[in-house]
């Protein structure tokens, strides 16, 4: 098995290939273009409640929360080479923590977000110490175990409402002591704020030296050790960061749904989150976000009216994507294609 990336940008021996500017960041027009695009996208997203009716706006809130979860999966799967089914555990932990904070402590959204994120971070740190000792398929299964155990725990606990879920969560408020928000549009803005914050932090991370170290582990952990890196620490930091991000997404989820159930930390959600990353293009940020939107739209919108055939439609989309989009959605843009690399599950393959 070879992990050689067969994609070739320039091959003519001797041709000068200038270093891409984003490789080691030294500024550059492209970065500004990307930033500009991001700002435009954000503005468009922010304007949505002004011209869309409540239902699509709710849908969009759900998409944003889920997309942030997907980004957290991508940080591990796409950037660090650790395929995970575990992020929903932290997503759920953040969601429950925010909900419980709302019920027993305060409706303040910031407090809920911070509490949810910290709880998820703590959980990710503790479980991460165990999980990051493994890699590949074994890592996938350990994270599946984390998800399953968390799920079962949520189902069994009275505090979280057991299998009936945590209901009766009051609406969030933004200002200290302010009125709870009930209107879909305002809720959406809050979710958008959390989403933008999370994505911005992720983008900064993957472009930082820390991000390069993560990719180094993806491509050759042994080699990272040989050049003097403490790979365990890099993985643990990445795992904890991704867990916090998932928890943050969970708080956004609670804010808009005002209800959390064990299903929010279940295998099914973990699976579509992981597939969204693959579908979008592991190792890019925007691809998985777009994929997350498509997946949720198919599941919730088309699935609801397709007489129970939602699963089949999603299945077809995944199968087609494998053949039509060999580098995921992100592969449609050549510029980032180089960042997309295959992630072996079996541990890194190596030519002999």
């Amino acid at each position: 098995m070879s992990t050689i990336n067969n994609e070739k940008t320039t091959v003519d021996p001797g041709t000068k290939t200038p270093a891409p500017r984003h490789a080691v960041r030294g500024g550059g027009r492209r970065r500004w273009l990307g930033l500009l695009l991001a700002v435009v996208a954000l503005l468009v997203l922010a304007s949505v409640p002004l011209w869309l009716s409540p239902y699509p706006v709710t849908m969009l809130s759900r998409i944003l929360a889920f997309a942030l979860l997907v980004v957290s999966v991508d940080l591990l799967t796409g950037y660090t080479g650790l395929p995970t089914l575990g992020q929903v555990a932290y997503f759920g932990a953040g969601a429950y923590a925010a909900g419980l904070t709302g019920i027993y402590l305060t409706t303040n959204a910031f407090v809920q977000m911070v509490v949810g994120t910290l709880v998820a971070a703590a959980l990710a740190l503790v479980t991460g110490i165990v999980a990051v000792r493994t890699k590949g398929f074994v890592f996938l299964m350990v994270t599946l175990a984390i998800t399953e155990l968390a799920h079962k725990q949520a189902e069994a606990m009275a505090l979280t409402g057991g299998s009936n879920g945590l209901s009766g969560i009051p609406g969030i408020s933004i200002l200290p002591g302010g009125e709870p928000i009930a209107l879909v549009g305002y809720l959406y803005w809050w979710v958008l704020f959390v989403f933008a914050l999370g994505v911005a932090l992720s983008v900064i991370l993957v472009r930082s030296p820390m991000g390069r170290s993560m990719r180094g582990i993806r491509d050759g952990e042994e080699r990272m050790r040989a050049i003097g890196r403490r790979t365990f620490m890099v993985k643990l930091v990445a795992f904890t960061f991704a867990g916090s991000l998932a928890g943050m997404a969970g708080t956004a989820w609670t804010a808009q749904a005002r209800f959390v159930s064990p299903g929010d930390m279940a295998f099914a959600l973990a699976a579509i989150a992981l597939l969204s990353v693959v579908f979008g293009g592991a190792g890019t940020i925007w691809g998985p976000i777009v994929a997350a939107a498509i997946v949720i739209l198919i599941r919730d919108e088309i699935g609801a009216i397709a007489d129970g055939r939602g699963g089949m439609i999603l299945g077809f989309v995944f199968v087609l994507a494998v053949f039509l989009l060999p580098r995921g959605i992100a592969g449609l843009s050549r510029r980032r294609a180089a960042a997309v690399g295959p992630t072996p599950i079996a541990g890194e393959g190596d030519e002999l």
Binding site: K8, T10, V11, D12, P13
Partner: protein, 231 residues
Amino acid sequence: MLLEVKDLVAGYDGSRVLNGVNLSLDTGESVAVLGRNGVGKTTLMESIMGLVRPSSGQVLINGIDLARKPPSALAKAGVGIVPQGRRVFASLTVEEHLLISARKRGEWTVKSVMELMPRLGERRTNLGSQLSGGEQQMLAIGRALVGNPKLLVLDEPSDGLAPAVVGQVGDVLTRLRSTGLAVLIVEQDLRLAFDVAERVLVMQKGEIVHSSSTAEFRADGKRAHALLGVG
């Protein structure tokens, strides 16, 4: 002609590495391909074998065009390869390598290969991944031999071998030649290349820029150095 390559063009994902290569090789003949790193020697060998799919051109074995056929078709037509980087199977024992490769009857059997390279016999139950670099190289050569090919393609066979073993490989190849086997060899160790080959081709940037007999090539060291980019 045993092997004829005509206007072979090949590359990776739409970019060209070989820009129309022509060469031919008769039964019992042996040719060395020389050139600097990255000029396309391996790409040429692998597209002859079908491991890289040529985008145009022909690879004729005994007059039949096998370009763009799977490698197994070429193997069946009598081409054996010792690839660059050895490509031994990590999870097969030495013996298993030879067993699964012995698909044609002939002079070479598992036994005779192990006699030729006793080290392989000693490491019979080691997995490919548990061999030293040189042992892997021997195994790759042995694997090609037990297939009893008519044309042996070798891509840097001396890579990683100790001098004594390189000498042995040279002896073996010379002996093989006398049995009518044709040899196409890419080699950085010029001594070995000259020992084995009667003709020398030099590649630059995906093209063959020089072709002469070995003796002729050796006669003019200055020109040879220029061709190989040394100095």
